[in-house]
Subunit: 381 residues, 2 copies
């Protein structure tokens, strides 16, 4: 086997894009093994575009057909864990879409199955982890270049969605269909990047707006205060109603500061001496100089780097890395088991807003599920 035969479950926008990337030869170690969708219209579309590719309406049948070595789950969020589990049971490598699931209880079950099949490749589509900019940010933190983190702050409101987006399907932006709004659908990328780079908080307090600027049941705006438990704090803001869109990540460490603007411009300021040392040695005259706006070059060095990202390139990289792990054991960019972190964060943010108080992580899974089910029951009325 020199190419992984991928089964694409769900032939919608995302699954269709993946099929395209592979068919165009952009994923050099992968081929389309089969396509699966429950929608008859998709069957016709697949037959037209990929006449030689087997099509299934039942994903279990596809998994058992021998046509695929691996699957990707471009289906509603709730289904990712169960499809992942069914794949693992049949020794099929699962690549799950983000988020790994809607609530940690189901994702934990998937992780549990995966842990019992360590020879299989279990990955998640956190394509942003392939972004060179964020890889560099992570390496700066991991290499202790800006020291211990004191504060993180991400305003990520570039996820503008009009009402028409939400009205596309009945299941969109409902508790039953998606299990949440911006936290579950758009922001999982940043929730993952944030925890990947800066670690998981120990507790969160959130103010979440449900149907604030859109006629939806779920959240279209989130403001969260993170407490990392070691003194460090953070702020995470996201929404789908800001058409001007801000994307600004700031991380303060005791040896420097990172600012990322628009996921394009990386500014790193490295202190000449750690802040605790400056704190001990500097006097009020030095403070006055800073206050009067005198040169800062004695204090820190500034490095600015611009990055470009090609649309689709990240997803191609994830698919290729997934196949490379299956074929050659190349380390995964995003192991599937990492997916639970973003889900745990989203669950905690929801729960904090529902309870109106700070919650510790991990949250009580049963409590979260009970609260979620209450909302599902309410929206049916």
């Amino acid at each position: 086997m020199n190419k992984v035969k991928l089964g694409i479950i769900g032939f919608g926008a995302q699954g269709g894009a993946y099929a395209g990337f592979i068919a165009e030869g952009r994923v050099k170690n992968m081929e389309i093994g089969a396509i699966c969708d429950i929608d008859p219209a998709k069957k016709e579309e697949a037959a037209e575009k990929y006449p030689d590719t087997p099509f299934y309406e039942d994903y279990i049948e596809m998994m058992e057909s021998g046509a695929v070595d691996a699957v990707v789950t471009t289906v509603p969020h709730y289904l990712h864990p169960e499809m992942g589990i069914e794949a693992l049971k049949r020794d099929i490598h699962p690549l799950v879409e983000k988020p790994a699931g809607v609530y940690t209880k189901q994702v934990k079950e998937l992780n549990h199955y995966a842990a019992e099949k360590p020879n299989l490749t279990y990955a998640i589509v956190f394509n942003q982890r392939t972004n060179e900019l964020y890889r560099k940010v992570k390496s700066i933190i991991d290499n202790d270049e800006i020291g211990d983190i004191r504060r993180t702050n991400w305003i990520i409101t570039t996820w503008w969605r009009p009402q028409g987006y939400y009205d596309q399907s009945e299941w969109r932006a409902t508790w039953e269909g998606e299990g949440g709004g911006v936290l579950v659908n758009q922001a999982p990328h940043q929730l993952d990047l944030l925890q990947w780079i800066a670690g998981m908080p120990e507790s969160v307090y959130s103010k979440v707006k449900y149907g604030y600027q859109r006629d939806i049941a779920v959240e279209d705006e989130v403001t969260t205060l993170l407490d990392y438990g070691n003194g460090a704090t953070g702020v995470f803001v996201t929404c789908t109603h800001d058409i001007i869109g801000t994307d600004r990540l700031e991380i303060l460490g005791d040896k420097g500061k990172i600012v990322v603007d628009d996921s394009k411009t990386l500014t790193v300021k490295r202190l000449k001496k750690p802040e605790p040392e400056m704190n001990k040695s500097m006097n009020m005259e030095d403070v006055a100089k800073i206050f009067m706006g005198e040169s800062t070059e004695d204090i820190y060095e500034t490095e600015v780097e611009e990055f470009e990202s090609v649309w689709g390139g990240q997803h191609v990289a994830v698919l290729e890395n997934f196949a490379a792990n299956i074929l050659d054991g190349v380390p995964l960019i995003a192991p599937g088991s990492d997916g639970i972190q973003g889900v745990a964060l989203a669950n905690a943010i929801h729960l904090s807003s529902w309870l109106g108080k700070e919650v510790e992580l991990p949250v009580d899974e049963e409590q979260y599920l009970a609260e979620l089910n209450e909302r599902i029951a309410e929206e049916k009325q």
Copy 2:
């Protein structure tokens, strides 16, 4: 009377600077009437620099001497209200330093006295209100140019102070001496600007760090989530341990967005149509274009303006405006009664962190005072 005779209470760094501005003729409608300080060393200093100016050790005596028409209170925060009241009682115009006081109960008393003497000029040194940049931001909001506010976000961590600053005096950074840290000493400027521009929140939740990076009893870091009660939210972050210092204010409205960087660069993005209209009329294709980074000029116009501020100029402007109100009834930039807002905000932020929950404004004054007194008692042990 064509010049107001100012009595300077407290001849420290601030009071000394004011005396300098007036002596240099920078405040054209003001002269130094008298100087007051309880410190004998200051008496000598004043005698040397201003030999012809009467000096008092007792501010009441100065007020009753006939040498001053007005006073400014450059003294520890706790004393501002009582000195303001004593001035009003004697028909002396009070200009109080910020913050107006440490807790709202005492500031309310001052406001009450002032309300009974409407013919006197009662002002507060919110010098940042004279900053042309923030005046423009306020006018943009007041003129509804960016519509209804949906979110505010201010990271203002340019207040770096080393341990040596806190160790200057026994009273610094203690509950008894100052009644707080960065919220009471450095950030009152921004707390006032924020409420002046965007209004007061209805409730706050905060995470406040006491003695986090400095050996002090009071707070050196604050993260606050604001709820304006009408759907709008906000975030306010400040600290004294970030030597690189961020100063970034963002205000999102339903017709545009304002971003202020470093209190110098104002970026205003004005939507061609209000966001609610775009929400109704735009489809997924339009969203895709935005997502792919296509031109935004159909969506909004961007205006960038740079501002410069001269150090000291703001304080001169406040002094001059105060005198102009006394002499000619020119409207005040910062009426004294406005001072209570920033104090109310700071009190609420403290109280939320002490109680570990969201608190509504105005907070229970007695509860705040009891909690504050508990901390004063604790630090004495």
